[in-house]
C-alpha cells in the first residue's frame, strides 16, 4: 500500500477511537508502534515529553513527528490531517444537530447537566496540573515534608493569581511568556 495512504489511515484510526483528548491517544499509539514499527516505545515516551514542552495536543504532535520521520514534511501533514479527519466529520455533524435542535427542551435539559459536568472535569484537570506542579507528592512517602511543597512554584502561582485578577486586560500569553522567563532565571525544573 502507498505509504501516504497507510499513514493517513493509521492515524485516522487513532483519531476515530481515541475518545476524550490527547492522552487517550497513547494506548493506540503504543499499539501502532508494535504493529507498524514506525517508531519505538522509547520514541513515543520522548514524544510525550516533547509534547509537554511544546504547544499542541500530544496526538497531533505524535502524528506530525511520525509522519515527518517516514516521509518528510508531506508525511507530517498527511498523518496530522489523518488524525483530525474523523473528529472533523463527527463534530461537523454534531454541530449541525445542535444548530437544529439546540432550542428543544430535551437538548436543553441534557445540556443543563452536561455543562456542570464539563466544568467539573476542567476543574479536575486544573487540580491534576497543580498536583504535579505545586506539590511533590512523591516526597510524602519519604517523610521529607519540606520537599512536599514546591516553594518557588507556589510563590509564582500566588503572584500570578493576584496579577491575573488585577490586570484582566493583559493577554494570557503575556503571563505564559513571563512565567517561562521566570522558570529559566530561577531554575524551576
Amino acid at each position: 500500500m502507498d505509504l501516504y495512504l497507510k499513514l493517513f489511515l493509521e492515524f485516522a484510526k487513532t483519531g476515530l477511537f481515541a475518545i476524550g483528548g490527547g492522552m487517550a491517544t497513547i494506548p493506540f499509539l503504543t499499539k501502532m508502534s508494535d504493529e507498524t514499527g514506525w517508531f519505538t516505545h522509547m520514541e513515543l515516551l520522548n514524544m510525550i515529553a516533547v509534547s509537554e514542552s511544546t504547544p499542541g495536543p500530544i496526538g497531533v504532535n505524535m502524528a506530525s513527528y511520525v509522519g515527518y520521520h517516514l516521509a518528510g514534511i508531506s508525511g507530517s501533514i498527511v498523518a496530522t490531517v489523518g488524525l483530525v479527519f474523523p473528529s472533523l466529520i463527527i463534530i461537523l455533524i454534531v454541530a449541525q444537530f445542535l444548530k437544529r435542535f439546540g432550542d428543544s427542551p430535551i437538548v436543553k435539559a441534557v445540556m443543563y447537566g452536561l455543562r456542570a459536568a464539563s466544568a467539573g472535569l476542567i476543574a479536575a484537570a486544573g487540580i491534576s496540573v497543580a498536583k504535579v506542579t505545586l506539590f511533590n507528592v512523591k516526597a510524602l512517602g519519604t517523610g521529607n515534608w519540606g520537599g512536599f511543597l514546591n516553594i518557588k512554584a507556589i510563590i509564582l502561582a500566588v503572584i500570578l493569581f493576584y496579577l491575573t485578577k488585577k490586570y484582566k486586560k493583559v493577554h494570557p500569553v503575556a503571563f505564559l511568556a513571563a512565567s517561562a522567563i521566570i522558570g529559566v532565571v530561577f531554575n524551576f525544573a
Partner: protein, 179 residues
C-alpha cells in the same frame, strides 16, 4: 472568504500558544473567541468541551471545529481545524529535524516548569468564568462536585461522567415537570 481566513489565522495563533493540551487552551479561547471576536459565549465553550469529552478526537481540535462551523458552516469548521493544528506541524517538524534532545535541554525544562505554574493558575481562572453559566442551582452544584471528585480520585472515564450528567439533567427536568 475573509472570515474563513480569519478563522484559520486566529486558531493558528491559539494553537501556537496552547501548552499542555485542550484544557490549557481554555483561557486563550475565552480571551480570543469569547471576549475579542464574540464567536461564541462562555456557555457554548462549556458545551463544546462536554461534547469533546465524549466524541473521538482531541478536545482542542474539536472545539476549533465547533467554533468554525458555527461561524461559517463546513468550510469554517475545516479552516479553524487546519488552523489549530498547523503550528504543531511546523514546530514538531523543526524539532524532529534538528533537535532530537529538545525535551532534555535545561533551558526548555526550566521554561516549561514555569509555564506549567501559569497554566494551572489560568485554568482555575477559566473555570471560575465558566461556573457562572454551568452551576446555576443546587443540582448543578452537586453534579459539578461529584464529577470533580470522581475525576480526581477514581479512574472513571470522562465520557461516562459526561453522559451520566446529561441523563441526570434530563431526569431532573422531567421530574420537575419542565418537559
Amino acid at each position: 472568504m475573509g472570515e474563513i481566513i480569519k478563522l484559520f489565522l486566529v486558531f493558528a495563533r491559539i494553537g501556537a500558544v496552547t501548552f499542555g493540551g485542550g484544557y490549557a487552551m481554555l483561557p486563550i479561547l475565552q480571551r480570543e473567541v469569547v471576549e475579542k471576536y464574540h464567536w461564541a459565549t462562555n456557555d457554548e465553550l462549556t458545551d463544546y468541551y462536554a461534547v469533546g469529552q465524549c466524541t473521538p478526537g482531541v478536545i482542542a481540535v474539536n472545539t476549533a471545529t465547533f467554533v468554525g462551523s458555527k461561524i461559517k458552516g463546513i468550510p469554517g469548521g475545516i479552516s479553524a481545524t487546519l488552523g489549530v493544528v498547523s503550528p504543531s506541524i511546523v514546530i514538531i517538524t523543526i524539532i524532529a529535524a534538528f533537535l532530537s534532545n529538545f525535551a532534555e535541554l535545561a533551558v526548555v525544562k526550566n521554561a516549561f516548569a514555569g509555564i506549567r505554574v501559569c497554566v494551572c493558575v489560568l485554568i482555575f481562572n477559566a473555570v471560575w468564568k465558566l461556573l457562572k453559566g454551568a452551576v446555576i442551582d443546587k443540582l448543578t452544584f452537586i453534579i459539578f462536585l461529584v464529577v470533580l471528585l470522581l475525576s480526581s480520585f477514581t479512574d472513571a472515564a470522562p465520557a461516562n461522567l459526561v453522559v451520566a450528567a446529561g441523563i441526570v439533567g434530563l431526569a431532573a427536568k422531567k421530574i420537575g415537570g419542565a418537559l
